[in-house]
Point group: C2
Chain length 341, copies 2
Amino acid sequence: MELDERKLKILQAIIKNYLETGEPVGSRTISKFTDLNLSSATIRNEMSDLEELGYIVQPHTSAGRIPSDKGYRLYVDTMMQSRMQEVEQMWDALNDKADKMESLLQQVAKLLAVNTNYATLVTGPQYRSRKVKFIQLTDVDETQLLAVIVLEGNIVKNKMLPLAAELSKEDILKLNIVLNTYLTGLDMSEINLSVIAKLKEQAGGLGNVISELLDAIAQAISEEEDIPIYTSGATNILKYPELSDHHVASDLLYELEEKKSLTGLLNENTEEHGIQVYIGQETSVASMKDCSVVTATYEIEEGIYGRIGIVGPKRMDYEKVVGTLQTLKTQLDDIFKKNKE
Amino acid sequence: MELDERKLKILQAIIKNYLETGEPVGSRTISKFTDLNLSSATIRNEMSDLEELGYIVQPHTSAGRIPSDKGYRLYVDTMMQSRMQEVEQMWDALNDKADKMESLLQQVAKLLAVNTNYATLVTGPQYRSRKVKFIQLTDVDETQLLAVIVLEGNIVKNKMLPLAAELSKEDILKLNIVLNTYLTGLDMSEINLSVIAKLKEQAGGLGNVISELLDAIAQAISEEEDIPIYTSGATNILKYPELSDHHVASDLLYELEEKKSLTGLLNENTEEHGIQVYIGQETSVASMKDCSVVTATYEIEEGIYGRIGIVGPKRMDYEKVVGTLQTLKTQLDDIFKKNKE
DNA sequence: GTTAGCACTCAACTCGATGGAGTGCTAATA
DNA sequence: TATTAGCACTCCATCGAGTTGAGTGCTAAC
């Protein structure tokens, strides 16, 4: 037995209806709801088949049917076409704030949350290996040295270093030159002992400062290793009865607050650059087995990606979500492209 | 009618018991629970008095009594003495991470949440008026200028400025000197039109760059205006039945996520530097009318304060919370004092 | 002033009845 | 052969009645 045209239509009707109402949907509803002109009895037979095929399930005998994960999957795969409308105000809101990566992404998360009414996640850019682009030392006052380290992708890091002894202007200038000469273009793995030895040799009497500096640089680079994840609208999940159950909600909210376990979720399939939909068990995060997760990948520059996504109930307006993510992704791409020009 | 010794003891017993069980407490319980050797009938009479005085209330007739806000207030004011034990592991955990203000404070929030099982808030330092301490311009590449702005309290801000036309090394040097000469030591309000005019005059042909720079500086200073608030353990509130009610929990979690409205709460009474306890309506945040908030003020340096606090149910182990906050406050004070040496 | 006793109140729980939505099956129909 | 009408059945949700138990307030006695 395979899915024919009619079964597909009925399945679609069931899911559509369930998405709207959140209640199990019965045969009579479908009979009236669709333009198939079939009696409820016929629908019942078909639904029985669909259940056997695993696309829908009954919460209990004598209840209507609700879609299974497999049903949702089919729905998402086949019946969904993107819609690229509304959400225009996002654009304006975004452009206002496009100064700082952090606040931008946080803003994106919030906008998405407000627009979709789901919980949202946004990751910052992931770099494969971050290279040092530029280093600048300055004496802020007699006791403190400020190291500004610019990494590939214009990530700027600051470190305050306490000074044992005051350094002269000339010393600082010299350090700046030496550091930039030897470290520019290198990433963590390339700054090895031989480079360090050469550095210290060139720095002459300032070797001890170099050591501290290298520590700071190493820290700055590795700091970024755990990519930041921004979340917003976590409380939205309380709006959906099937998720606001005590235990489920508590786990989910904790997960969203902690964020750590989300990295796994968001790192899956990074080679695929379209929209990804994870339904129920597909998410790999245990506490989300009653949720669906939809993510999109945006591109900052060649080879550097971040992700935006939402977490909501399986009963989710997939069409709208995918559309929204699609437009948002496009807009983010544009912003970064523009910023580079 | 005033509170005599016995009424106080009974009130104390009621509150203690209620804190433990979360259930309204009846006269028989108190009769057995305390060492007063009074029958339940007598207790009933006393409880009747206490209710009349407004220290306790009945959720409904024929239910036990629970403390009113006024009752909690008395309890907190009179019967609480700090206890400075446990929480030693906090110390270790903190010292590990004392490198970066942000992560330190986030860590503090988390530790506090784990230790108390309540939702926690921590604010970063608040400066009355932030002055420019130091400005450094550098050309990262041909098209971008990096402005590093150091504010009072060693807050470092970075701004990337796109360049219309390439600047020579000499121009940048000149700009650096001019900027530092005229802006160092000034705060937002002091950078007025006359200062700006003088700046542009000195900068000669670079007036247009100056304008952009000033925008960036203004942004850097004002950016910090809304003090960062770190929260943790928000989901803890779901552990308390009286708060996990749908509407209440949703509002609370939203408030904790948004953080904005919390500033008001945390800015009250900043002149008082001890532990503050807000019960129910006292908090000024509407959604917290069923909560208590306990805050402590820590000192980073002379005149610069931040706050740590927890949000939990009115039925809260006040003694423990106050103790924990007290020790944490002390430890934070120590860390910052040490860091300065 | 304290206590024992008793009537009263109220929330929480149990239990059964009822109704409605929905199914599965069978027999009739096109 | 596919569709439909009809019917018996199942199960959840809801409602109301009855019960229980904790707790109170009052009164009279100690």
